[in-house]
Symmetry: C2
Subunit: 332 residues, 2 copies
Amino acid sequence: MVTVGIKEVAQRAGVSPGTVSNVLNRPERVAAATRSRVEQAIRELGFVRNGSAATLRAGQSRTVGLVVLDVGNPFFAEVARGVEDVVSDRDHAVILCNSGESPEKESRNLRVLAEQRVRGVLITPVGEDTSRLQRLRDRGVAVVLVDHSASGDLCSVAVDDVAGGDLATSHLISRGAERLAFATGPLAIRQCADRRKGARRALRNAGLPVRSIEDVVVPEMNAHGGRLAAEKLLAGDLPEAVFCANDLLALGVLRTLLQAGVRVPDDVALIGYDDIEFSSAAAVPLSSIRQPTYRLGKIATELLLDECDDPGGHAHQQIMFQPELVVRESSR
Amino acid sequence: MVTVGIKEVAQRAGVSPGTVSNVLNRPERVAAATRSRVEQAIRELGFVRNGSAATLRAGQSRTVGLVVLDVGNPFFAEVARGVEDVVSDRDHAVILCNSGESPEKESRNLRVLAEQRVRGVLITPVGEDTSRLQRLRDRGVAVVLVDHSASGDLCSVAVDDVAGGDLATSHLISRGAERLAFATGPLAIRQCADRRKGARRALRNAGLPVRSIEDVVVPEMNAHGGRLAAEKLLAGDLPEAVFCANDLLALGVLRTLLQAGVRVPDDVALIGYDDIEFSSAAAVPLSSIRQPTYRLGKIATELLLDECDDPGGHAHQQIMFQPELVVRESSR
DNA sequence: CTGTTAGCGCTTTCAA
DNA sequence: TTGAAAGCGCTAACAG
């Protein structure tokens, strides 16, 4: 493996290394003839710029870090797609890290990213403590929170879960429901708590008492959790409508209710959250709340790169997206 | 933003920069007392090693590239999780790239990875042409193919789709089916073609004529495609069993059949492919073929890092995982 | 418009 | 066991 650097290219093109660097970084400052001679030499030698050397010298890289709670989760996978699209358009690269909801892993990730001298970090932080992020910023690394709202000194991009809870619940109420249930994972999860808050707001706005909605908390937010929730519901007086904190839960509820001979939506109306691809294919197509997941990643990245490109003129923004109601048969 | 490098640490600890470097890279060669003094200085100053400088000097980085066809696809998201876990255990980082099935984007990705001087690249190539990869290897970058099998001069990790097709079909036959359908996306997609091949092999092995299975090709491998396929089936003589090239397709078929009053599995048995999380939550829980997706990423990464760590002693391996039959009510 | 030059921060011999 | 010193390949300021 021969090493072909800027020097070899310069020699072959009969110019100095500085000129090759200019062709690479500021082509407009090089005479057209010289430039094409250099470009040809680059092609002939198969030269590829050494990014480490460039980063070292220039003091900044062309990479950004992305730290998510779980890459395997379609929500974050879609966010990652948005991030990658923007970053790749701007000729940068993404370093992907998975914190797996562990603060220790998150810290390790952040250290690796700091070592790599990423220009910025997109992160869904594990807890509420953002002091680790503050330290990063002190090092000159831009930070944007994803799916988590910041408080003024940081950019953030999130989706309004309270509004989503309100949207779902208002919809059920508008169909005539007066006795509701909220099937959810642990309320310690911010998303669950916020969606519940929104549900209660909807009740108040409709003039219904808060006790019109019953919380059904299950440990896991998947289909199995949904089955559990449905079993609890079946054991008592069935509500007229059920709002589930996510679609997986809703699919589990749906299936269990149908098996018990309950008709959806005639006996019980149902709505989920996330609008995952499969929801429309459920036994009864599931109403849901859709989040602009791809845009979350896209906008967050644009914010981040803007901050990097103009650290002085940059004003931090906290962007809150509004979720969207998708009505299908399960609550028609 | 003050810059704290190895020199500042050295000064504070009263040692030379070389010793600090040794503490970082070969701590066993440094006297315990000196080492802890240096470690303390590192902590006090909040020193973080400059990865670019290290890479430049050492000639190799601690990053690997991952190029997938679509990060948003749960299959690749799960592969990415496997990759990230291993890489992070070995104190490396992943640079994530999305080719979006475009050869141009793939080339750009590969160039960026080459610039970053990644130690190796994990890739699901867009086409069958692996010459671009060969060029990478000539540069000293290790390459492992993911979900695509290589031919001797490269490592690869894939899942045997022919075996999967055979497994699914043999299962349906063992239930007594003699008239089958194969619902699939375009046969130009390798996975579809291979699964079909497996299905036909199963027929032969069972002594059934190849015409016992009817191909139902639809343009999109999602729930909508499934609906289309089911409508085609309903328009003719219903088969006794349907094998779908993926679960999304199968869910669409399932729903459409149920709506038409067809009982599953009594009238028509059904099996999908991929065993996505939602399959078990379907109106009729869906039988499927499970692939070791996470392991695919994990093993591929281990192979890659092994090759990097011992380029001489490394023997290329082509690993083919066997998929697994998961029987649920839809074909019970 | 092009060439010269001085490092960026670190690793790694080699010598002490 | 530790220190001194020579670059890794590139960029950017400056001079010509």
